[in-house]
Amino acid sequence: MKHELIGKPDFPVVKITLNDGECIVAEAGAMVSMTSNIAIETSARGGVMGSLKRMVFSGESFFQNKFTANGGSGEIIFAPETMGDLHFRELKNEALILSRGAYVCGSPDLKIESKWGGFKSLFGGEGLMFQKIEGTGSLFFSSFGAIEEIVINGEYVIDNGHIVGFEPSLDFSIEKVGGLKSLFLSGEGFVCRFKGHGKAYIQTRNHSSFAVWADGWRKVESRQ
């Protein structure tokens, strides 16, 4: 399997070349285009309960698609849901924790599991559940805005809306920035203090801030 990221960093898609018989798993709706020799198989991977958990808690789709190249190599293009970067990481018998909806596509051998982030994540703005992607294989995940890799040694603070993913050797706690005054007035609200050593991925834009900004432009029906 070979891949090429096109259109980085603003509106990237990933072009994957599959050898004969090779396959890749993707979120429902992620496929943009493909050669005609690629067969698609839709299934609730991980069983009904597993898929339900993935859909309800992690914001992914209930069904996932498996694309297989038949009779020669094939080419397929995937795009993430939002405008933002796509990041590739080769997992070698290791795991990565991704926030809600970040997973785009990956090798079929990768195990995807919903993980409870603890009560603290109620305030994290990233939902209660994370996804743990584990195993060996290629993984593509997306962000809102660009993706930056941050190496954490000891401690590091990230705004809750900017977390894309992190290595499981890191743990975080939710805390407020400064005192009560800054909680309400600084515009920062809650942040995540990461502890441990490892890599974290941040996104350069924040969904909720964008939603608030876009809301101002929404057409409002006049009351009569």
């Binding site: 993980k115 603890g118 009560f119 040694n153 499981p168 743990d171």
Partner: protein
């Protein structure tokens, strides 16, 4: 024992390197990598439980630095350190284990709390929606469940009992039943009564309209009005489809799913399969209260005074010994509150145009002996 671990330090190009750990004398930890080794004196070291799943251990040389650091995933190292002969080292290991266990406990407690919360919501939603779902289920199924449940109900309550064929008894009971069923407006059910010879002091209705009365209870009853009270209550269980509501709320989502998806045949077979077994579970208190109230209204419409029913309750519960032997009362316990409630409802719905029954109950009883 050797443990696989990761050593984090700025001196390595990638910021980290894989190492093999070995514990010496319970307090000296040596981390070996391809190009050398690092020693950690555990007496000064800081041990912290960490990682997203709380299944990792960080070891720092002392409390003030965050580099170099060792990350171990195999927590049996913590166990080995806990067995150290050095008191300080042992306490550090215990502390780290304590924190790790507490964090894990918090996580599990959180999950359980959420599950309990949601299943609570679900069950509330379900009892509320059972009535709506039952409306989608054809009345025929009630009859089918009643038919299927009949043999097992008789077998468990009064095995080997025979049908009473005496004309006077059957006609008298038929008269009461007809007075009641005429007052039911637009009922989809057909009621038919079977009288069985048995000392069992009970009477019950199966979904769909089949009513069974044992001679045991007929001998305890002193007037047609008293029996009418019992029958009115049982009939209302059938009319309000309480059995079906019980089945639906107990079987939960699978029924809802099948009813919505539209495969009635499938849902039907499931309901029939479990339904007859669920019949033995009895009704909820709310259902009993509803049957009481609706029963009295039915009596009122049929011109039968409901004090017969209340009298019967009171008469039976006065004698405690009798109460124990009386299985109908066991499933319909008469608390003072219930008697008061019944009396209150009766006051609200007095019988319209009281008509006496033609039966002489003494003669009826003599026919049963």
């Amino acid at each position: 024992m050797n443990y696989k671990a990761t050593l984090y330090s700025e001196q390595f190009t990638d910021g980290k390197v894989s190492v093999e750990l070995q514990l010496f004398h319970g307090d000296l930890l040596i981390a070996r990598h391809d190009s050398g080794s690092v020693e950690f004196d555990l007496k000064n070291a800081k041990l912290v439980a960490g990682g997203f799943d709380n299944n990792m251990l960080y070891i720092y040389p002392d409390h003030n630095v965050t580099s170099p650091a060792i990350l171990v995933q195999d927590l049996s190292l913590l166990k080995e350190i806990s067995a150290s002969s050095n008191e300080i080292v042992r306490q550090k290991a215990m502390q780290a284990t304590g924190i790790q266990k507490k964090k894990k406990f918090n996580k599990i407690a959180g999950i359980i709390l959420i599950i309990v919360f949601f299943s609570g919501l679900m069950s509330i939603a379900f009892t509320q929606s059972a009535g709506i779902i039952v409306k989608l289920i054809p009345v025929k199924w009630d009859e089918k469940i009643g038919e299927l449940g009949y043999p097992s109900a008789i077998a468990s309550m009064a095995p080997g009992s025979t049908k009473i064929e005496d004309k006077y008894v059957l006609q008298s009971i038929e008269e009461i039943k007809n007075r009641l069923s005429v007052s039911l407006k637009n009922t989809p059910f057909k009621y038919n009564i079977t009288v069985l010879k048995s000392p069992v002091e009970n009477a019950f209705a199966l979904p769909g309209g089949k009513i069974v009365i044992f001679t045991g209870i007929l001998l305890k009853v002193d007037s047609p009005e008293e029996l009418a009270g019992i029958l009115a209550h049982e009939i209302m269980h059938v009319e309000k489809r309480h059995a079906m509501k019980q089945i639906v709320s107990r079987m939960g989502l699978s029924v809802l799913f099948q009813v919505i998806v539209g495969d009635m045949a499938d849902a039907g077979s499931v309901i029939l399969e479990v339904g007859s077994e669920l019949l033995s579970l009895g009704y909820s208190r709310n259902m009993e209260t509803e049957a009481d109230k609706e029963g009295i209204i039915l009596l009122s419409n049929a011109g039968i005074p409901a004090d017969g029913m209340i009298q019967f309750f009171k008469k039976m519960s006065e004698n405690e010994k009798e109460l124990k032997s009386m299985s109908w009362l066991l499933t319909h316990p008469l608390s003072e509150k219930r008697a008061d409630e019944l009396a209150k409802i009766y006051k609200k719905y007095p019988p319209l145009n009281v008509k006496k029954f033609s039966t002489n109950w003494k003669i009826l009883k003599s026919h049963l002996k």
